[in-house]
């Protein structure tokens, strides 16, 4: 399967070409190049997926194949960074997800971004992002993953800050980069620790189940915690940064400053699930060497999911609602992994998590693109500027509704199937976890339909221009993704991706399913009552729970904490004193030495006056003193 290399090379070439020509070509040409390249690699990925899933199975287990691997940099005899391609069920699935969404976003942007300045720059960055993300998922070793991880981070920075004359976009881009960079430090140190003990970066060796690799970690601990827990915990911090887990989620809502298609691609469907992918990739290690860290991941995921869902209920910027919903859904995926065991029925959480990753990518991209279509029509992100749009934008309305039903977990839409598997895995882990996640699923249904009704129903806002349906280039991806959202639930996912790469037949747990569907339906009904027509209920609720409402609207003040730490502590209490210390203590000491030298030279320069009388006088005096001394002693 050598041709998979093309999947990586083509977007890179497209980035280089589009980056170098800058604005010398017509914008349309740049857009077409980017989109065509994406089309080609999407086709290649589908073909690769077909070939892989139909042919590379030995005794019922999918094999791992490495069609390409070169040594890029050698640290020591055993530690060397390779760049290569690893194909296994999760990476092949990710190839399909990334190329599909990316291709859709490329097409969509032809319509959405066409009047923007820097169209070719936009497509160059999109290509760079796609290249980096693909490189990340096919990484053969953890260091290659880190390399592309950083590249993904920088493409995200460039795309969030695409409107670089807008200060809020620049600040958001900076914040996203620095927060994730901070998390990446954890990732890096995790790799340092892991590679120090195992002497390898290679996923193949790490996840082979060979215990001799970990021989030197046995009994090794630091501050009472085993080194494997340290390594895996630190690596998870990296994943938590990219996947916006609490308390590192602060960058994601701000990242909505970027163009909407970018939010769909990067901050909903692909990059933000990199952390989930990372945990899934190292899952055999987590499950065997540090179950406590794995459980920690489950709790972090559950808490983040709840936290974000509550905030999503009160936000008024439609992109931010979607951003918090993304955080919440990624929490679901993390929980799925965290509660999972390895293999067979035990591993259902893993399978469900990957399944949810897949379906979520499709319907969340659809939601964002739909939101983009709305924003394009009304030129605002605020819910209060919308309402009653269903008459003007039928396609957007229907596709958005489908996505909402999917995320709310209504059968037969795809979200129902994947979320339900996660819920049953949770119930098996502990009833409390199951109940919590079911409650969050209910919240999800509520806030999504609050969003839906506020945009497409409710009181009509007076528009300056009559809103109109989006052009074909934007409608096509909506329709395509909606189709996938409707159908994807019927994919027998357990036949493709499982924790032990063997076959697993999904059984719907009817008790769990019934409960969750009931709760979802109740939540939707509630949303209908509150938001379909203008009503006083929301306002009354807000005044009743004014404390909670205010806190949630302000996102529980986590951003204020962030500002406090960066501005007050780092900037004013570390950096400022250090800069002062450097100038007024260290440098002053150096200047002081120079000053002392000068002072001494001024004082003693009298000795070199050049006056013969003075010399004779001193000479005489000296002679007398010495004579006197000789005589006395």
């Amino acid at each position: 399967m050598q041709y998979t290399l093309l999947i990586l090379v083509l977007p890179l070439l497209s980035f280089i070409v589009l980056g170098l020509v800058d604005s010398k070509w017509k914008p349309k040409v740049a857009g077409t190049i980017g989109t065509v390249v994406l089309g080609i690699i999407t086709a290649l990925s589908y073909f690769a997926a077909w070939e892989y899933f139909s042919m590379h199975r030995i005794a019922g287990v999918y094999e791992k194949i490495i069609p390409f691997n070169i040594e890029w940099l050698r640290f020591t005899d055993y530690l060397h960074i390779n760049l290569g391609i690893l194909l296994d069920p999760i990476s092949v699935m990710m190839l399909v997800v990334i190329t599909t969404v990316s291709f859709m976003v490329n097409i969509y942007s032809l319509g959405y971004m066409v009047n923007e300045k820097g169209f070719e720059r936009y497509y160059a960055f999109l290509s760079l992002f796609t290249f980096s993300m693909l490189g990340l998922v096919v990484a053969t070793n953890i260091f290659q993953m880190y390399i592309f991880w950083e590249l993904v981070g920088v493409s995200s920075y460039l795309l969030i800050g695409f409107y670089y004359t807008k200060p809020s976009a620049v600040a958001a881009a900076k914040k996203a980069f620095i927060v994730t960079r901070f998390a990446d430090l954890g990732f890096l140190i995790g790799i340092l620790v892991l590679s120090f003990y195992t002497k390898t970066f290679d996923f193949g060796i790490l996840t082979s189940g060979d215990t001799s690799v970990f021989a030197s970690t046995v009994g090794a601990s630091f501050m009472g915690i085993s080194v494997m827990s340290w390594a895996l915990g630190l690596i998870f911090i990296g994943g938590a940064g990219k996947s916006a887990m609490f308390p590192l989620q602060i960058w994601l809502p701000d990242a909505m400053e970027g163009p909407t298609p970018v939010s769909a691609l990067i901050h909903a469907a692909t990059m933000v699930v990199a952390g989930v992918f990372l945990v899934a990739r190292l899952f055999p290690l987590y499950v065997v060497y540090s179950p406590e860290v794995l459980h920690g991941i489950a709790y972090v995921g559950a808490f983040t999911s709840l936290f974000a869902a509550i905030i999503a209920c009160v936000q008024t910027d439609i992109k931010r609602v979607l951003a918090f919903s993304t955080i919440s859904q990624i929490g679901f995926m993390m929980v799925g992994l965290g509660v999972s065991g390895n293999g067979g029925h035990e591993g259902v959480g893993y399978m469900a998590s990957m399944f949810h990753l897949f379906t979520h990518a499709m319907f969340k991209a659809l939601l964002f693109l739909g939101a983009g279509s709305v924003i394009h029509a009304v030129r605002s992100n605020e819910m209060s500027h919308m309402g009653g749009l269903r008459k003007y934008m039928p396609i957007t309305n229907i596709t958005f509704l489908i996505a909402c039903l999917a995320i709310a977990g209504i059968p037969p839409f795809s979200g129902f199937f994947s979320k339900d598997e996660i819920l049953s895995a949770c119930y098996e882990f502990s009833p409390y976890m199951g109940a919590t996640m079911t409650f969050i699923a209910g919240l999800t249904a509520f806030y999504m339909f609050r969003l839906y009704f506020n945009i497409f129903w409710g009181k009509e806002h007076k528009h300056q221009h009559t809103p109109h349906e989006s052009p074909f280039a934007m409608a096509l991806p909506l329709v395509f993704l909606a189709t996938v959202t409707v159908l994807a639930g019927w994919i027998p996912f357990g036949h493709f991706v499982t924790s032990d790469r063997a076959n697993y037949d999904i059984h719907l747990d009817f008790t769990v399913a019934t409960i969750s569907v009931l709760i979802a339906v109740c939540s939707i009904t509630l949303a209908i009552i509150m938001y379909r027509k203008e009503s006083k209920v929301p306002k009354r609720l807000a005044t009743t729970f004014s404390g909670l409402h205010k806190a949630a609207t302000n996102r529980f003040y986590i951003d204020e904490v962030y500002i406090f730490i960066t501005k007050k502590i780092i900037f004013n209490n570390i950096s400022l004193p250090l800069a002062w210390f450097d100038r007024h203590v260290i440098d002053a000491t150096m200047n002081g030495m120079a000053g002392t030298t000068q002072w001494v030279s001024v004082k003693i320069k009298g000795f070199q006056s050049g006056q013969v009388q003075q010399y004779a006088y001193v000479f005489l005096l000296g002679t007398l003193i010495i004579t006197a001394l000789v005589l006395i002693f």
């Binding site: 940099l73 590249l151 920088v154 004359t165 200060p167 980069f177 430090l185 950096s575």
Partner: protein
Amino acid sequence: MGVILYYMNFLSLFVLIPVLMMLGLFVSNSRKQIQFITATGASLLLILSGIITYMYLTERAAGNVAEMLFTADTVWYAPFNIHYSVGVDGISVAMLILSSIIVFTGVFASWKIDPLPKEFFLWYSLLSIGVYGFFISTDLFTMFMYYEIALIPMYLLIGIWGTGRKEYSAMKLTLMLMGGSALLLVGILGIYYTSGATSMNLLEIAKMKIPLTAQYYFFPLTFLGFGVLGALFPFHTWSPDGHASAPTAVSMLHAGVLMKLGGYGCFRVAMYLMPQAAHEMAWFFLILTGISVVYGAFAAIHQTDLKYINAYSSVSHCGLVLFAILMMNETAATGAILQMLSHGLMTALFFALIGMIYGRTHTRLITEMGGLMKVLPFLGVSYVIAGLASLGLPGLSGFVAEMTIFFGSFQHTDTFHRVMTIIACMSIVITAVYILRVVGKILFGAIQDAHHEHLTDATWFERISVVTLIIAIVAIGSAPFWISGMIHESVIPVISHLAK
């Protein structure tokens, strides 16, 4: 000419070409001629460094395992056994490539230098003689002499062509570095006399055993002496003032190459010749360099002058060089050399761009600039690339160097060293903070000053300078294997000598 070459071998061309440049400059009398002479000379040097690299790699591929290649030796001053001896290994070849790129781009960055272009380039050539001579020498005394040759022109270049408090800065820089070289002279003489060698040749002294008590005295002296030039905390304060006042090309050459003399000397002279003392005393210097790395980065956050930011960033990055060589293993040492190379290119690019921006806006304060990306897209994009290289983006040189250092250092079996490595790792986050702060302030957002609306983007000679540096940064960053391999091979003899 042939006779000279016969005695001096072709490595000496690196010194000879700048000498010829100086002669040419003496007789030139128009700006055109000056530009022609310097551009030709600098291009020749660049080509020559390419040829040397090629020859070096072929020679190694052919199985030549001598520690130094292309050696030559001529007695220079018999009473003290001072020889003019030259030779290169992978480390010096890397440094020659670096110097040639910086000298070349420096010429184009100061294409329109004013006033006194002739004098400027005379001193500039003298400075490059010192730099090249230092890297090709294997004789301690000759090395020291070239070191001094490189320092002196700095005083005049800053004092005459500088900006701001130039006299003060020039004086400060020269005095502090001279102070360092005073320590160094004592150190070198001490090494020579206590080793009992019959010449000052590095390779020969390395075979001798310097008594341990003598090592205790001379190792710190030599390490500090070179360390001052490598911006070792707390002797780094010449760097912010010096860089801020220096003209563009001088900042480039100074931060890009001259500061590398420090790291190179620490490794090649202090550590190589006095391994026992190095082992015993490394912890102390490790703490100092660890402070440099983190402290420099934190101090950079709060600066408002572009050049100060980069000067402090250099303290941090050069601190990493010294930090890595003190780890005393092959990988970390390879990383140190890569970091010298990478930092040299990055800082030169930064200083070149700052000079170009300053030439247009007449300010270096980030508070007085904004939105420059719109009016200066070429310079803006290049600045972003330099920034990304500096904060360690994969695909650019900084990442390769830093990662080699971190992973090399972390292989140390001692927990103290590993903890220090983790502390040093933190600098990558702080670096991101100050780089993005600057980029956000000066390039993005709205234009601050109405006068900046009509600035013109880079001219052709500025583009040559910037593009050359970017190509080098990308080349090392995306295909590091060959240069890393070349350096690694040459680090082995030094490290195995240290391990004894």
